[in-house]
């Protein structure tokens, strides 16, 4: 096995040595190509699809690759992480790297069309015109079609980097997939996550190890748990639910808690963002100006503001659903751990710090009822995915967790 590259921008790609090797090689070939030297045929591709389970670092890997493509440092190790091209590419401010993070629930056709136009231009400062789409699974059909045309006949110096979770493979159109080189990321090991939390983020080894052990292979989640008291408190309250449902009356407070904490998390996330975005927009539209053309400018500003509010609202819905889903993933992990304990299986636990609760639960419930509870959690995740009202879905779930039937 190739030793893992852990320098420069690649240090951010946690626990994916094989993917890093492939990307580095492609970046080298690309560099040869732009500097006029011959490159191994097929080493460089104009369209990539980064897939992997949630938290595996798809977009981080794509950004690192974008940086490596633009890097002006060491030609044999592109992605030095120190040159201005690397730093701006990773930060998303490089003039020739467009990063699309869909803030609403999907990317619209008009957004995609303007993006495709930009992609067709020659790179201004760098070597490539890079277009990075973070959630390609959330493209509307129209947007996917607009993108497909560009991917099928890419301009000579344009590279498309699409990211999509591997648990929703059907959400990216088959045709687009077939035009892309697929880079599959795996779930990084706890050791690799702990290592990056300790060495890069400067967390103490104990906290880093704990966070890595309970994050389900989700690097961002681990970082959050290690650094955010509120996130830790929420996880504790979620994991108290299974053993806390003694009476039917316990169902509703627990449900309220789950839904409300997802709501408040969404509010915290969007509250600060919303205000900043509104201010930025008002400044850009020159709010409060006087003189000729002000009336029509005000009308335009109102439309833009309305549009922004619509997007912010859909982002809040998404954030809330994501927060709820995270809680459900934690719950599913608990019931899975109970099943493992019931069968005496020797697999790593999802919540090693809750081993005692897990044993207690395994003593109380039959394996069948633990399995039914696990299935209820998974069914609830699916229901939320299908836009079932969170309160209705969660109350039905917690009732099922209480009865075990």
């Amino acid at each position: 096995m190739t030793p893992a590259v852990t320098t420069g921008v690649w240090a951010d790609v946690v626990g994916q040595p094989e993917a890093v090797r492939v990307l580095l090689e492609a970046a080298r070939a690309a560099l040869h190509f732009t500097s006029g030297r011959s490159a191994a045929p097929g080493a460089m591709t104009h369209a990539w699809l980064f897939t992997g389970p949630p938290g595996s670092g798809r977009s981080v890997a794509a950004r690192s690759f974008a940086a490596a493509l633009q890097c002006t440092g060491d030609a044999e190790e592109p992605g030095c992480g120190e040159c201005s091209a690397c730093r701006t590419a990773v930060a998303g401010t490089h003039a020739d790297v467009r990063v699309v993070v869909p803030e609403g629930l999907s990317i619209s056709v008009s957004e995609m069309r303007s993006l495709v136009q930009v992609a067709a231009r020659r790179p201004t400062t760098g070597r490539w015109q890079v277009v990075l789409i973070e959630d390609a699974d959330r493209l509307t059909e129209g947007a996917a079609n607009a993108l497909l045309k560009a991917v099928e006949e890419p301009p000579a110096r344009t590279v498309f980097l699409l990211c999509a979770p591997s648990d929703h493979p059907d959400d990216v159109s088959v045709t687009i997939r077939s035009r892309c080189r697929v880079l599959s990321l795996g779930t990084p090991s706890p050791a690799a996550i702990a290592d990056v939390l300790h060495r890069r983020d400067g967390l103490d080894p104990q906290t880093a190890e704990w966070a890595a052990s309970v994050c389900g292979g989700h690097v961002g989640r681990a970082r959050r748990l290690a650094t955010d008291d509120e996130a830790r408190r929420r996880r504790e309250s979620v994991l108290r639910i299974p053993l806390g449902l003694r009476r039917f009356a316990d169902v509703f407070p627990a449900s309220d808690d789950l839904v409300r904490s997802a709501e408040s998390e969404a509010k915290t996330v969007s509250g600060t963002l919303d205000e900043a975005e509104r201010e930025a927009l008002q400044t850009a539209m020159g709010a409060g100006g006087t003189g000729k053309g002000t009336a029509s400018a005000t009308r335009g500003a109102k439309g833009a503001l309305k549009d922004l509010e619509r997007r912010q609202k859909s982002r809040a819905t998404r954030t809330q659903r994501d927060a709820l889903d995270r809680a459900l993933v934690d719950l599913a992990g608990f019931y899975r751990d109970v099943l493992l304990a019931a069968f005496g299986a020797d697999a790593p636990l999802a919540h090693p710090d809750k081993a005692e609760d897990v044993r207690a639960a395994a003593g109380q419930w039959t394996p069948e009822s633990a399995l039914r509870r696990l299935e209820a959690v998974l069914a609830c995740r699916e229901a939320l995915d299908m836009n079932v009202k969170p309160r209705i879905a969660v109350e039905a779930l917690v009732t099922a967790l209480h009865t075990g039937r």
Binding site: F248, A249, V251, F252, A383, M386, N387, V388, K389, R391, I392, A393, E395, A396, L397, T399, A400, H402, T403, R405
Partner: protein, 326 residues
């Protein structure tokens, strides 16, 4: 106000099978009689349930000249003796007595078949109440109803109303009356649609209420009616979910003062009170099952089910099955 000096028609023949119209004709005869004599009493019997002697007694004028309205129902089943008595009486009606004969127009015996003709010959006032079967007749009925209520309706409004309400004359009549009361004089398609959207929410609510109280026939009927009206599936599903969850929440906290619980549960006291009453038909297993049903239904009406109408019906049946006394 003194009664106008009118003498009511002493003899009425109400001919036909359209129940709503028959009832109206009978009521109109009674009202006309009471216009002349507000104290007029009503006696109503089926022709098959009286003897000739009883009939003679009913039709003879009272000693104190009080008015009386005698309604003979189901005259198509009349026997020979009574038919002869009625025909004889019709030739010379008594003072202060109004006789209303209700006849479908059919009949098996000759006496029964001949009765309407004989009454007409004797000068009975005829009200035709033939069954309304043709669309044009139904539309005319709707127009008349709206006019009776003091309004006017255009053809598009008539079509929309028939489409939304269906063919039942009683429903059509009450919708027409309500529409004029709500929308004022002129009624078009827009007024009809607005009126039914208002009713739609109520309708989903009715389905839910019948379902959680175990009224199987009523719940299914209300559901079909709601689907027929075109109430959005999501609205009915929401109403069902709300009803089930409210009962579950209220019964989870046990019996207590509704006013105290209202604050704790964040619901108005009347809602708590009602849910407490409804909760008597539920045990915890049933509620757990019903909560799962409404959660599944929410996904189904949002596009998972191929036929959301069927999904709703199945959900209502499952809720009814889960309903059982604790």
């Amino acid at each position: 106000m003194s009664a106008p000096a009118v003498t009511p028609d002493p003899l009425h023949l109400v001919l036909g099978e359209e129940e709503l119209l028959v009832e109206r004709a009978v009521r109109a005869a009674l009202e006309a009689a009471r216009l002349a004599d507000p104290e007029a009493e009503l006696r109503r019997v089926r022709v098959t349930e009286i003897t000739p002697a009883e009939l003679a007694e009913m039709l003879s004028p009272s000693l104190f000249a009080e008015g009386r309205v005698v309604v003979l129902d189901a005259a198509q089943e009349v026997g020979k003796e009574i038919a002869e008595a009625v025909t004889t009486y019709a030739k010379q009606p008594a003072d202060g007595v109004v006789l209303v004969v209700v006849h479908t127009g059919g009949g098996r015996s000759k006496a029964a078949k001949d009765l309407p003709g004989a009454l007409r010959k004797a000068g009975a006032r005829l009200t035709e109440c033939a069954k309304i079967t043709k669309p044009s007749e139904r539309e005319a009925f709707v127009r008349d109803e709206v006019r009776r209520a003091g309004g006017r309706i255009d053809p598009a409004g008539v079509a929309a109303l028939v489409e939304a309400v269906g063919q039942d004359l009683r429903e059509l009549a009450s919708a027409a009356g309500q529409l004029v009361a709500d929308a004022g004089g002129k009624i078009g398609e827009a007024e009809v649609r607005r009126y039914h959207r208002g009713r739609a929410e109520v309708t989903g609510f009715v389905v839910a209420e019948k379902a959680v109280t175990g009224d199987r026939v009523g719940a299914l009927e209300a559901l079909r009616w709601a689907l027929h009206l075109g109430v959005a599936h999501v609205l009915i599903a929401d109403a069902l979910a709300d009803a089930v969850r409210t009962i579950a929440r209220v019964s989870a906290v046990g019996r207590a003062d509704p006013f105290r619980l209202a604050g704790e549960l964040g619901m108005p006291p009347w809602k708590v009170k009602k849910a407490q009453a409804q909760a008597r038909g539920w045990n915890q297993d049933g509620l757990a099952a019903a909560m799962q049903v409404v959660a599944d239904l929410n996904a189904e009406v949002k596009g998972v089910a191929a036929d959301p109408g069927y999904a709703l019906e199945r959900a209502v049946l499952r809720i009814l099955d889960a309903h059982q006394p604790r």
